[in-house]
Symmetry: C2
Subunit: 484 residues, 2 copies
């Protein structure tokens, strides 16, 4: 058979089983707070689990063991989509978000670690459901780790090979046997940091419930908050600094964190992507801080507010403590541009990723050199190694497609009635998996007012962005469906 439908379905079955099991994790909170969402969650969990088990057992036999590349694209895209459809059941069953459009938007915003929300009063949502909302982001982050380590390099998604070359214990030619080990290590870091942040936030004065929710969504660079005002609810500088630090860690290549934990700081500070990531955060924080300070903000608060917003957008988390569109036009523009940054590959951050920007900028300079020396082979160098022309080419194509999708998406949002800033802002933020945008989807607003068609488009863009474009787009190309 052309595609291994049996294996694909089997994997989707496994994902649904996991999805159902994760829903049960919300039950303790439902029981503890007793707000009446217990049965909805239980029902959604059991239904998801049951369907997962049925699919799993029906497709268990006669499997072709090896997954082919085409199967890979399909299973990843369908996996995220299936998770999101079933993940919206708790919202629908509990009546929190009764219609599919909004429930699906909220769920895919979770699993894609975007953080755009249609909820207008988050604090009125029952605690069990709200925990599910945070958990979808954390699960999405886990998915991204395994995707980056194990699947994207195998599918040949531009730039991801560069990350893999750096991952601990992976040599490009001996990839397969070590993948499991690597994924496990990175998951441990992910889990460890989540626990660490929970404890720190708890110590900082959050309730345990709020602490764990925010830790889950920080580490996923997701940005869902349990408060209507997002982190602006917490005026404690300690809490804000803790979150800044953990957002930064969540946007750091987990491999670098692994090195740091093993005392290999030299490796961390020699990593090109980490250096630029830090430089971007520091420089942009200072620029924005000066801007806020000049508008009359106190020194420390200006710095903290700037750092929070900058790190939040660059890491594609999307928490806010202040409205970045309320200062100057220049700062608004800067934040809009930051939506195209993305943090490190190998982290849970979405968006373009800094490694790609480094390659693109270096390549632009070298293209000038190539004009003068048309016969010389002048490769881009990254982490001291020459990057192959194929990878550079692929990254260029990735960026072009990213921009085209941004352009076409903005035009469609405009045609659906959104104003200029809302159109470009909503598309940039959803495609980049950030959360808040500009205009009527700015930091202090939400996506409730977006038209139904707009919500489906943005849902699709969140998926596209999260799966590095190619994984999804390829399914829409005729090449994918041709037999040879």
């Amino acid at each position: 058979m052309f595609l291994n439908y049996r294996v694909i379905l089997n994997i989707l079955g496994i994902l649904l089983i996991m999805n159902g099991a994760f829903m049960f994790l919300c039950l303790p909170f439902s029981i503890f707070y007793g707000e009446g969402d217990l049965l909805s969650i239980l029902g959604a969990g059991l239904l998801t689990l049951a369907i997962g088990l049925i699919i799993f057992f029906l497709t268990r036999k006669n499997q072709v063991k090896e997954l082919k590349k085409r199967d890979g694209y399909l299973v990843v895209s369908l996996g995220w989509l299936t998770m999101s459809f079933f993940g919206s059941l708790p919202y629908i069953f509990s009546g929190t978000i009764p219609d599919l459009t909004n429930a699906f938007f909220e769920t895919i915003s979770g699993f894609s670690t975007t953080g755009a929300t249609i909820l207008t009063d988050i604090e009125s949502v029952h605690k069990g459901i709200l925990f599910w909302r945070s958990l979808t982001q954390w699960i999405g982050g886990m998915g991204i780790i395994v995707l980056t380590v194990a699947i994207l390099p195998f599918l040949g998604i531009g730039g991801m090979q560069l990350f893999v070359a750096e991952a601990p214990g992976i040599s490009p030619d001996k990839l397969q046997p070590r993948i499991k080990e690597t994924a496990k290590r990175l998951w441990m870091i992910y889990l460890g940091l989540t626990i660490g942040e929970t404890v720190l936030l708890w110590l900082g004065g959050m309730t345990f419930y709020d602490a764990i929710n925010h830790a889950l969504t920080t580490m996923a660079t997701g940005g869902f908050s349990t408060k209507n005002a997002s982190i602006a609810f917490y005026t404690s500088p300690f809490i804000q600094y803790v979150i800044i630090a953990f957002m930064f860690l969540a946007g750091t290549n987990f491999t670098m964190t692994y090195f740091a934990l093993h005392g290999e700081f030299k490796k961390v500070f020699q990593n090109d992507e980490f250096k630029f990531y830090m430089a971007f955060c520091v420089v942009l924080t200072l620029v924005v801080a000066v801007g806020i300070y000049l508008l009359g903000g106190p020194v420390e608060e200006s710095f903290r507010t700037a750092a929070f917003q900058v790190v939040s957008v660059i890491t594609t988390t999307g928490y806010i403590t202040a409205d970045y569109t309320s200062w100057t036009s220049f700062i608004t523009l800067l934040f809009f541009m930051m939506m195209f940054f993305g943090a490190s590959a190998g982290s849970t951050a979405g968006g373009v990723k800094i490694v790609r920007h480094i390659i693109l900028v270096k390549n632009s300079f070298l293209e000038l050199k190539r004009q003068l020396h048309p016969n010389a082979v002048i490769p881009v160098r990254f982490n001291g190694r020459a990057v192959s022309r194929e990878i550079t080419f692929n990254i260029l194509a990735f960026m072009m497609i990213y921009i085209m999708i941004f352009g076409v998406g903005s035009a469609v949002m405009g045609a659906l009635g959104a104003d200029f800033n809302t159109s470009v802002g909503s598309v940039a933020t959803c495609l980049g998996n950030i959360g808040p945008g500009l205009g009527s989807v700015g930091p202090v607003d939400n996506f409730a007012s977006i038209s139904s068609g707009g919500k489906w488009l943005l849902s699709f863009l969140m998926l596209l962005g999260r799966l590095e474009l190619f994984t999804v787009l390829i399914l829409f190309s005729p090449y994918f469906w041709k037999t040879n």
Copy 2:
């Protein structure tokens, strides 16, 4: 010697001599209208001519005959710059625009065929000076033709090779001997169309003076008008349709016009770029026309207004008959996106050019195919031929650099105090050599309110855009100044 300074200076001398001679073409109008600008123009012309002659004669001897590639970049950039500095003398001498910043902005806006203006009352400017203003665009257009045919392919600027492969009488391996012939043919078309449009506009009811001025700036895709209201001054549908047609022709690859004039229509309609150029104009006109119609416009007027604005922006002319930012947010967004189109290579249009977009879009689709077949060689095809990977790569890099410059430029404009829409609009329109932008530099406004620093930045961007980025940027790279 490393660079042939002597030859470079000699060529600059020749350009100044021509520049001075062109200024004398304004004298008949100065005399006829007798508004007192005669001595200023005469003085500017004589000074330019004299300095040109001195440079020319001082550098005439001991020349190395052959120009090298590096000399090419330098002579083109310095040529445009020198012409613009001396071209601002008539404005300064006559007191029309007394300060250098504004005079230089207006002149480079002319020579780069952009059409952005700092004049707040165009109709009060003396007729001789105003003719010079139009003439700078026409000279710029002439320069672009020779640049595209003779110089850019030799410098290896991305995508331009594709055009040359199509030019009549040019075979890539036997380029040199035919260049003069090709340039002459295209200049004849340029001149012929200018005369033709002058006659038609005159017949349509313009004064001879206005007719020739508008013909000069239409064919250059420049967009300077002699009226404050631009073409909105002329309510005659005939005049508007004539200008639409000639803008379209000015944005058509002149080689295609050459073929058409020789009855070879098949070649024209088989040309990929021409097909897409037409398709863009038609489709976007219809979309915008429907938008205007729905707002209550009469059918014919909606169509005409839409066609005028669409063709004006796509061809990077920049005339207006209506404010495209005054309809719906969606249409504003569309026009903003059109600023990144540019018309055909081998025309006088600025901007990115459609040939590049075709390659980029086709390559994006093929990149999906390449993901599935990583070992296959899958080239982009243009006009039935495979485009080399080097050219495709170079076009990708061009587009990346274009977008980066747009981003950085917008941020700097924002830092200089412009609001969001003005920042992105002014940079997009100047880099694309269009004219009107968004916000406070929208179609019914002008660039007078831009800060001094902003004007110099935009002047630089006009030059960058006009000279296909690389020609200018390469001078700022260390590679250019290294001896080996």
